[in-house]
């Protein structure tokens, strides 16, 4: 098995069961979640945030597809791109594993997964993405 690395440390956790969790945080003062995790709350600027894992379940809100590689991107196209409302009440803009918008619909259940981006000198580079989940 080849080595792998996340596209950036501290973004997500691979749960080993096909799902992932986002490494977010919750502010003790204003009670809002944010992601990626930061020490200072991006809403109220207080520094009483504590770590909170987010996901893996949510529902799709908006979606499109990226057809050509954007600047600095070395992975495959097309890929999906959308906004997912997580059960925790946080809204995440992220990649979608489904690259055909015709196969997506607003409100459908989504699951946070680990996605292979590209290989860097033999190392698998991975990121988080949402995949369509079964209803239920």
């Amino acid at each position: 098995m080849s080595a792998s690395r996340p596209v950036r440390d501290g973004l997500f956790r691979d749960c080993g069961d096909g799902t992932a969790r986002l490494l977010g945080a919750r502010c003790a003062d204003c009670a809002r979640y944010h992601f990626p995790r930061a020490e200072v709350c991006p809403y109220c600027s207080c520094d009483s945030c504590s770590a909170a894992d987010l996901g893996p379940r949510g529902r799709l809100w908006l979606y499109t597809a990226v057809l050509r590689p954007p600047p600095g991107y070395r992975g495959v196209v097309p890929f999906g791109f959308g906004v997912v409302d997580l059960e925790e009440g946080v809204r995440i803009v992220a990649r979608l594993t489904e690259g055909d918008p015709a196969r997506l619909r607003s409100g459908q259940p989504m699951l946070l997964v680990v996605e292979h981006l590209h290989d860097d000198d033999g190392t698998r580079v991975e990121t988080y993405a949402f995949a369509a989940a079964e209803e239920g």
Binding site: F35, P70, G72, V83, G89
Partner: protein, 376 residues
């Protein structure tokens, strides 16, 4: 309002692609034209503010160095798409404060072609494919389709409208009409947006001379610059993961409210608007954010034809960025130059009859939004 500010003169280098011409060359053309238009001689302005994003160190200084007009304070301003508007806002404030009587404001840019690689995005976001500006625009467009009665045909028609207006603007890059079918069948960029619904980054420059008011010229009735509140989603700041609050007013609404209050005017007083149309959906979004129509009403408002030439409130009579292209530092001031010409009845075949009050809007990365109201 302490101390009215008016426009003493304007200048423009037309927007387009000009290989072999430096950004300083472009700026020189606009600045010289504005100084001549204002009848200013050496020593005529006491400070200069230059909006630009990609021009490097002390770009505004280079322009004024070439003209032998240095010695005064020169400030280079970067605020994304609103850079020129931010420069204008500083100039207006400086005159109002009583510090200066006359200032030069200009903006200029030579943009790279294609999807712009922006240092706004961190490297990991680029590597993960998240640095994809048109996809954020597409999500906003889809939202308008779902919540504001906007259709694909309407998105195409905004481009048709602006290109039709742009035919009459000699300073525009694209002076060609398209049909709705042509716009819809142009290359898909990010569903629902097609290539002809997106503006092109390009090159150009614009300049405005401001002076203490009261001489009967076109007056700056209001200038408001705002940034986003924490958490606003699908704004021009290309929201990144974790920002959730969709109820926060977007920066355009913050700027519009402040500008209308400052001017003592409302949307019903406007005769024309120049609105940021980075893509077709952005223009429709701005109708709601500026308060031209209610939230959720952009579709029916557009369909009623109000914003067409001859309608109650023509939007982007200049052809907008869809026709002119978008040279970041210059584009906001391009809107000011257009309004100035319109309010003076000098807009030729694209003249909005009897225009007395106009609004210019820009919004961009940061997020920054600017609303400027001119009146005569």
């Amino acid at each position: 309002m302490s101390g009215a500010v008016e426009i003493a003169g304007v200048g423009l280098h037309r927007f387009g692609r000009f290989d072999g011409t430096s950004v300083v060359d472009l700026g020189l053309v606009a600045v010289r034209a504005a100084l001549a238009d204002a009848g200013l001689r050496r020593g005529g302005f006491q400070a200069a503010y230059c909006g630009t994003v990609y021009s490097g160190v002390a770009a505004g200084h280079k322009v004024l160095t070439a003209l032998g007009l240095t010695g005064v304070p020169i400030v280079n301003v970067e605020a994304g798409c609103a850079s020129g508007a931010a420069a204008l806002d500083l100039g207006v404030g400086a005159i109002r404060s009583g510090r200066y009587d006359c200032v030069l404001v200009f903006g200029m840019e030579k943009m790279p072609a294609g999807i712009i690689r922006s240092s706004f995005f961190e490297p990991w976001r680029e590597e993960a494919g998240l640095a994809v500006t048109p996809a954020y625009f597409a999500l906003r467009a889809q939202r308008l389709m779902r919540e504001s009665g906007v259709t694909r045909e309407m998105l195409a028609d905004v481009s048709v409208k602006n290109h039709r207006n742009g035919v009459h603007n000699p300073d525009a890059m694209f002076r060609k009409e398209f049909s709705v079918e042509q716009v819809l069948s142009s290359a898909l960029v990010c569903d629902p947006l097609t290539l002809f619904m997106m503006c092109s980054p390009n090159e150009g420059a614009a300049a405005v001379v401001l002076r203490r008011g009261g001489r009967g010229g076109v007056e700056i009735a209001a200038s408001a610059l705002r940034s986003h509140l924490p958490g606003s989603v699908l704004g021009e700041h290309t929201p990144l993961s974790g920002l959730i609050d969709d109820t926060a007013p977007p920066p355009t609404s913050l700027a519009a409210r402040a500008a209308f209050e400052e001017a003592g005017l409302g949307p019903g007083d406007l005769d024309l608007c120049e609105v940021q149309d980075t893509d077709s959906a952005r223009e429709l979004n701005s109708y709601e954010e500026l308060g031209l129509c209610g939230v959720g009403e952009a579709g029916p408002y557009y369909a009623a034809g109000h914003t067409q030439m001859g309608g109650a409130l023509p939007v982007n009579a200049s052809g907008g960025l869809l026709s002119k292209g978008e040279p970041l530092g210059a584009s906001a001031l391009g809107g000011i130059v257009e309004l100035y010409r319109q309010l003076r009845g000098e807009a030729g075949a694209r003249q909005v009859d009897g225009a007395r009050v106009g609004l210019a809007h820009t919004v961009g990365r940061g997020a920054n939004a600017s609303v400027v109201i001119l009146k005569r």
